[in-house]
Point group: C2
C-alpha cells in the first residue's frame, strides 16, 4: 500500500539517494516517462523502477499510465513536508541563538558596570 501522505521517514529516506535526487531535479523541469527518466543512468530498468517506487512511496512524485507509457510528475507535497520540518528546526535553533545572544549581552553589560 502506497504511502500517499509522505511521512518524514519515507520522504527523507527517498531523498537520501543520489539517483533519486537526480530524478527529482529532472522532474522539477517537466513530467517525463519512465524510460526518459531512466536514460541518464547505467542501471537496469527494474532497479531504476524501485527508485521511482521509493519516490512515489515518499509522496515526492506521482505517476499515471496512459497506454503502455507511465508518466511521472513531481508532487510538491513531499518537498513541502521535508522543508517544513527542517524550517521548523532551524527557526527554533535561531530563536535559541537569539536568546543566548541576548543573555550573553546582558551578562557582559552587568559585568561592565
Amino acid at each position: 500500500m502506497a504511502n500517499l501522505s509522505g511521512d518524514l521517514d519515507t520522504v527523507f529516506h527517498a531523498l537520501s539517494d543520489p539517483t533519486r535526487r537526480a530524478v527529482m531535479r529532472r522532474l522539477v523541469r517537466s513530467p517525463a516517462s519512465v524510460t526518459e527518466l531512466a536514460a541518464p543512468f547505467e542501471m537496469a530498468l527494474p532497479s531504476f523502477l524501485k527508485h521511482l517506487a521509493v519516490l512515489e512511496e515518499g509522496g515526492l512524485i506521482s505517476s499515471t499510465k496512459a497506454g503502455r507509457v507511465r508518466r511521472c510528475r513531481l508532487r510538491a507535497t513531499g518537498l513541502a513536508a521535508a522543508e517544513g520540518w527542517l524550517g521548523d528546526q532551524r527557526r527554533l535553533w535561531e530563536r535559541r541563538s537569539d536568546r543566548l545572544a541576548q543573555y550573553v549581552e546582558l551578562r557582559l553589560t552587568r559585568e561592565g558596570r
Copy 2:
C-alpha cells in the same frame, strides 16, 4: 572517517529515522550529554550511540568529551545543506509553475480574440 562536510546522502539518511529526528528536536533547545539524550528512548545505549554516530556523520550534530561525559550540540550546517537543496528544487518548481501559468494565460488570451 567522519564525514564532516555533511553531504546530502548522509544528511537525508540521518534525518530519515524518527529517533534521530527526536534527538535533533531535543538538541535544538540546548546541548545535552549522551545519557540525557538517550533517556526518553527504550533502546539500549549502544544502539542509541549508533544513531548519534549517524547524526554526527551527517554533520547534523557535533560532540566533545569532557571527563567521562560527552556533550552533543546541534550543528546548523547539516540542516542548512538539506534545507538549501530542498529550497532550490522548490524554487525551480515554482518558477516552472509560473512559466506554465503565464503560458496558459497567454494561450487563453489569444484564444479569446
